[in-house]
């Protein structure tokens, strides 16, 4: 029994990565299904929000954690994904192909951006991608006829299929769509992280020169990683469009890109579980702080700003307490508990 536990812990269960990833995806899918059945419509929308954040965060987390590149521009890829869905659905496409096309568009854009990014390091990459996040939403103002200008674009909410019954709510259907997209991302990235590509990305991150001496083309790998994470962010943006049915330039400001970075780092860099923590944080923390501030009787200025103040304090506190993020902190705590138990 203990040898089985050890085998599970180290991941050598004799099964392939593909089988393990499928098991993980089906397990999570079952959990989400039960959860969406149990939640009310408000929390179902929160679940949908968390799912599209997860898609973008997981891609960014793999990029930063695995290939060591920083992007402050993933909010712009989400914008591209959301606007792609808006425009295509507006031209009569069905939602599913539109979302797939949104991810594909971001992959196509991700190739040249990623190739440019692979030349840059650290803060220079951060600066270039930040300029990308600032510059791209301005395009909506430039082409108001197709992209709707400041007011953005809207589409009709997705129709709930008839086979789900008359009582099936729109919110639950939207949560299902978003969760399905998030599961696709989970499946793809889990396999990527545990594949040869993932290992060579880590090699390139840890020592670029040694990795190139081993025959790895680090620049090409970094471009690939950037492209995949851009695709994930585009998918997240497409899911955003399916859930909110609205895309405006102000929704994809620099603030979004910085929140994505925040979610990734606070959740725990480089791990898919960390991305899930980050998504939960981005959805739940603002809601909690707003309701907390609303429950106190304060003047308008204080009440309006208190949620952000608490948000900032939580970010700082988590980082000071657990510099490796929530996932890293929990793992350290679990390790601490298990060594204590073994000593006894």
């Amino acid at each position: 029994m203990s040898s089985l536990a050890a085998a599970v812990r180290t991941g050598h269960v004799g099964t392939s990565t593909l089988a393990r990833s499928l098991g993980l995806v089906f397990g999570v899918a079952l959990l989400l299904l039960l959860l969406s059945n149990w939640l009310g419509s408000y929390h179902e929308l929160q679940l949908a929000d968390g799912a599209y954040y997860f898609a973008a965060l997981a891609g960014l987390s793999v990029l930063i954690g695995l290939s060591g590149q920083i992007s402050l521009g993933h909010g712009a890829f989400m914008a591209v994904g959301a606007y792609a869905v808006m425009v295509l659905v507006g031209h009569g496409w069905a939602l599913l192909p539109a979302i797939c096309a949104a991810a594909a568009v971001c992959v196509v854009i991700g190739v040249p951006v990623g190739a440019a990014a692979s030349r840059l390091r650290g803060p220079y990459l951060a600066g270039a991608t930040l300029a990308f996040a600032v510059g791209l939403p301005a395009l909506a103002d430039r082409f108001p006829a197709t992209l709707g200008g400041e007011n953005g674009l809207t589409i009709n909410p997705p129709a709930v299929p008839a086979w789900l019954g008359a009582n099936f709510s729109l919110e639950e259907w939207q949560a299902w769509i978003a969760c399905a997209g998030a599961l696709v991302v989970l499946f793809v990235l889990y396999n990527l992280v545990h594949s040869g590509i993932g290992r060579s990305l880590r090699a390139g991150r840890d020592d670029e020169i040694a990795a190139s001496l081993c025959g790895l083309n680090v620049a090409r790998q970094q471009t690939a990683a950037f492209t995949i994470s851009a695709g994930c962010a585009g998918l997240g943006g497409g899911l955003y469009a399916a859930v909110l049915n609205l895309a405006t330039p102000s929704a994809f400001s620099v603030t979004l890109s910085l929140s994505l970075l925040t979610g990734v780092v606070v959740g725990g860099l480089g791990s898919l579980a960390g991305a899930a923590w980050g998504a939960a944080l981005l959805v739940l923390l603002p809601t909690w702080t707003t309701s907390l501030a609303g429950s106190l009787s304060l003047n308008t200025n204080v009440q309006g700003n208190l949620p952000f103040a608490i948000y900032g304090v939580v970010l700082i506190a988590v980082m000071l307490a657990w510099p490796t993020g929530i996932h890293g902190g929990l793992r350290a705590a679990a390790r601490f508990v298990s060594t204590r138990r073994r000593r006894r």
Partner: protein
Amino acid sequence: MTNFIDLTLSGVTSGAVYAAVALALVLIWRATRIINFAQGAMLMLTTYIASAVITSTGSYVIGFGAALASGLLLGALVERVLIRPVENAPELTAVIVALGLYTVLISLAGMVWGATPRAFPPAFSIRGYDIGGTHVLFAPNDTFIVLVVVAIAGILALLFRFTSLGLQLRAAAFNSEVAQLLGVRVGRMFTVGWALAALTGAVAGVLVAPSVFLAPNNFDPIMISGFVAAVLGGLDSPPGAVVGAMLLGLALSYVGGYAGTALVPIAALVVLVVVLMVRPTGLFPTTSERRV
């Protein structure tokens, strides 16, 4: 032609402000290898303090002094309390702490002063000079802005090059372990570096406030332009930051004037990408060595 001259002059003025912000970022980057994303919020806070002091005393000079003093204090405080504990953590940890600080400062300012923009008095007249009968878009206050930024850049250059403090600051930034072995109080130098940077940022805030008005989020575009300028110039090079800021100020002014303001953010992106594709570590890289 007059349009061109006007655009050039206003580009120089905004370039000067970007230069001050870029210098603040470069000073912190050199000292502690952190991009201080809270810089925009820090200079917002010091400008509010300056505004309050000017209103109560009626003196611009005292208000300016208050901004400088509060900048020094705030920079030192932030380094000691928030940045020091995460100095050896993964590099993005400090970035998130800075973003958290940004959020806290912005919301604190919103709580105390509200979101309504306030006017901030310029030091001198904002009516443009009349040169040979034509009215140019360059006012005595713009002269003041450029001169102040030139002065502060000059003082920083002299401080770093010719004083013992400057030598210790450079040593701590260049190689903190060796500097420590040679008796430099490295921790204190980092605090001084942050304080000087926040002071430079505070200057930028007071200079730009009359044109952007005073509100919690109104300094964010200045911060982003300052960052882009610093990256353009090369984050390790203070002269590079100034040159990068001037180039950016001029480029954005021309694009805004000839092609419309909607294109300005895209122009910033294009300028940055073109420069970085040719020189991946900015216009003035100080070292070709790369940490691997």
